[in-house]
């Protein structure tokens, strides 16, 4: 089966002249990738699962003691960790909803014949191509209370975006929306241009108004691809670390990944942080699964 799916090697090719068979060429391409995956992903994953059941601390030479489910029990009973989860949930909802609104909105605006559409689209995609750390650093400058351009432009005086406990999380979410809306826009544009033009013509003939056409034709037909955007963005937002870490140190904006980082590399509770990492992983998997189920349902229509 596997060999039939591969295009057979051209007998006159140079690879064939060197005595390489189809199988050996396939192995040549695949084995390095698999090795890389095992060494850097799968091995640490399994190794950390083992650590999550111990009281191991990477900062000491003390041997790891098996503690069973103690780490998990402690973490799930810790209100501090739960508040981190609550903060993360709030952040995910605000950030993903914002990106969806802005991204889809801009896509709707771009989905027509306008001059310089290609250039405009490319320029709008720029934020998402920047490094998270860079975005974090210059948004910190933009938010700066004394010389930040945001306060200057909005006339807010010395409003403290990032040190205000109430505002910090929203400020981080706003930066994330700015950075990742283009991603949603890109997927939405693909979805919108895939809606056949003749359906809009049929709707126009059927006397459907713009709103009716949008909610009954455009939105349902773009929904599957929007779902994919939501899945990706939710996963990413759930894991957000660098942006929030660079922008603010407010406890009200302490996402679960920051808690995890502190636990692992500042408090050196290696075993416990492994357990927390697994809890986060299971949560992300669960959320993604719900989305994928819903996506399949949407696709069926």
């Amino acid at each position: 089966m596997a060999t039939t799916m591969i295009t057979t090697l051209d007998r006159s090719s140079r690879a064939a002249a060197r005595g390489l068979s189809d199988i050996s060429i396939r192995n040549l391409f695949i084995i390095p990738t698999i090795l890389f995956l095992i060494v850097f992903n799968i091995f640490p994953l399994i190794y950390s699962l083992g650590y999550s059941f111990t009281d191991f601390r990477a900062s000491t030479n003390a041997p790891a003691n098996f503690v069973g489910l103690q780490n998990y029990r402690d973490l799930l009973g810790d209100p501090y960790v739960w508040s981190n989860f609550a903060v993360t949930a709030k952040y995910v909802i605000i950030s993903v909803a914002g990106q969806l609104l802005v991204g889809f909105g801009v896509a709707m605006l771009l989905n027509r014949d306008i001059p310089l559409k290609g250039l405009l689209t490319t320029l709008l995609l720029l934020p998402m191509m920047l490094s998270m750390a860079v975005v974090g650093l210059f948004w910190k400058l933009l938010y700066d209370p004394s010389f930040g351009i945001i306060n200057y432009a909005l006339g807010l005086g010395t409003f403290e975006w990032l040190s205000d406990p109430k505002m910090a999380l929203y400020a981080v979410a706003l930066t994330d929306i700015w950075m990742w809306s283009p991603f949603v826009m890109l997927l939405s544009l693909a979805g919108l241009s895939a809606v056949p033009k003749h359906l809009y013509e049929a709707a126009a003939i059927d006397r459907a108004g713009p709103f009716y056409t949008f909610f009954r034709i455009t939105l349902p037909l773009v929904a599957p691809i929007l779902m994919i955007a939501v899945i990706f963005r939710t996963m990413e937002a759930f894991k957000t670390f660098d942006l929030a870490y660079i922008l603010t140190s407010q406890p009200t904006a302490e996402l679960i990944s920051i808690r995890l980082y502190k636990m692992a590399f500042q408090e050196w509770q290696t075993g416990r942080s492994c357990a927390l990492a697994y809890i986060v992983l299971i949560m992300v998997l669960a959320i993604t699964n719900i989305y994928v189920k819903y996506l399949n349902k949407v696709k069926e229509r």
Partner: protein, 367 residues
């Protein structure tokens, strides 16, 4: 009660003029077929009437009111597309109900209308299905249902059965005709298939390169084509057209085709009706059924040699060599044994057409 009128309609795509000064009046309840090759402007004309295409000149009037500046939604016209254009994410019921829901009718009213249309089109059993689960014919029934449900002023159909296979096309053709007779709404139907046009139309409008060629009943268009294009476009097998010269003989006129030794005999009356075209620039058009063939020599019949014989079941098409030209004749099946046979042929003067080769126009000779 809907009349549609086109007055001097012009349409350009860039520098190309796709509709050239089109004038047409469509009466109430009339079934009009726009017939022409692809790219002749027939679909553009239909879309212009629907409001999906703007026009660059002229007027489109519905019931005497100019509508060329109105949006499609405000013209109260329904359209059936070649691609069906059913909403893929909605069930058949929702598809048919869409035009009613879009205009916010009450639920009970919608349900009643949808079910009555579904009954007419025999799609009641399909109402819960998605379009993707339907066959081509059923999809088109649903599309027609969606157009019918709101009782539009006029129905526009853009090659509605062009995407179906031959057998289904024939069935749907009959169904569309039955439906039109029953519902009786002004209908404009676009097709490139002349059989469809002949069988459905009250009047056929033949277009070529954006110019209207002829408007008339199927019979009129078939029997009295206005020019060479119509003559050769309408009718299958295609009409024979050959350069001809006419000479006067003792008792009659003689029409020579393809430099043959002898000419076909025509009544003397022909001479006076050619208006000076007798000498040259004259083409004779004769449909295959107007070429009479027999095995024995007879008065007025010329001896000819058969070439290819195409048996088509109910009849044969036989190529006859007349001088350097080929005349296709329609005979009973099996009438001619094969190529190389000697038979006798004449042209039925009542079915002959004469055209000016320079302008392509028919000389209107009726013998």
């Amino acid at each position: 009660m809907t009349q549609i009128e086109l007055r001097g309609v012009q349409k350009f795509f860039g520098a190309v003029q796709v509709i050239k000064d089109l004038n047409l009046k469509i009466n109430d309840n009339e079934f009009i077929v726009l017939l022409g090759q692809s790219g002749c402007g027939k679909t553009t004309t239909l879309r212009a009437i629907a409001g999906l295409e703007t026009i660059d000149g002229g007027d489109i009037l519905i019931d005497g009111k100019p509508v060329q500046h109105l949006k499609a939604a405000d013209r109260d016209i329904a359209m059936v597309f070649q691609s069906f254009s059913l909403y893929p994410h909605m069930s058949v019921y929702e598809n048919v109900a869409f035009p009613l829901r879009a205009t916010r009718k009450s639920k009970a009213e919608i349900d009643q209308e949808v079910r009555s249309v579904a009954k007419t089109l025999q799609i009641t059993g399909l109402l819960a299905k998605k379009p993707s689960a339907l066959s081509g014919g059923d999809m088109q029934r649903v599309a027609i249902g969606r157009a019918l449900v709101r009782r539009p002023k006029a129905m526009l159909m853009d090659e509605p059965i062009g995407a179906l296979d031959a057998k289904l096309r024939e069935e749907m053709r009959a169904e569309i005709k039955r439906l039109h007779i029953k519902q009786g709404s002004t209908t404009i139907y676009v097709t490139h298939d002349q059989i469809e046009a002949m069988s459905l139309a009250d009047r056929i409008v033949i277009m070529h390169e954006g110019v209207l060629q002829q408007v008339g009943s199927p019979d009129e268009v078939y029997s009295h084509p206005a020019n060479l294009f119509v003559a050769q476009f309408v009718g299958s097998p295609v009409m024979n057209v050959a350069d001809a010269s006419v000479a006067e003989t003792a008792s009659s006129a003689s029409v020579t085709v393809g430099g043959a030794a002898a000419g076909f005999e025509f009544p003397r009356a022909l001479l006076s009706r050619l208006n000076g075209h007798a000498g040259g620039q004259l083409a004779l058009g004769i449909r295959p059924e107007g070429v009479l063939v027999r095995h024995e020599a007879a008065e007025g019949f010329l001896p000819v040699e058969t070439q290819i014989v195409e048996p088509l079941g109910s009849f044969d098409i036989v190529d006859l060599k007349v001088g350097s030209k080929m005349l296709r004749a329609r005979t009973k099946s099996g009438f001619v044994g094969g190529p190389g046979e000697r038979v006798f042929a004449r042209i039925d003067p009542t079915q002959a057409h004469f055209f000016d080769t320079a302008s392509g126009k028919s000389l209107g000779v009726r013998l």
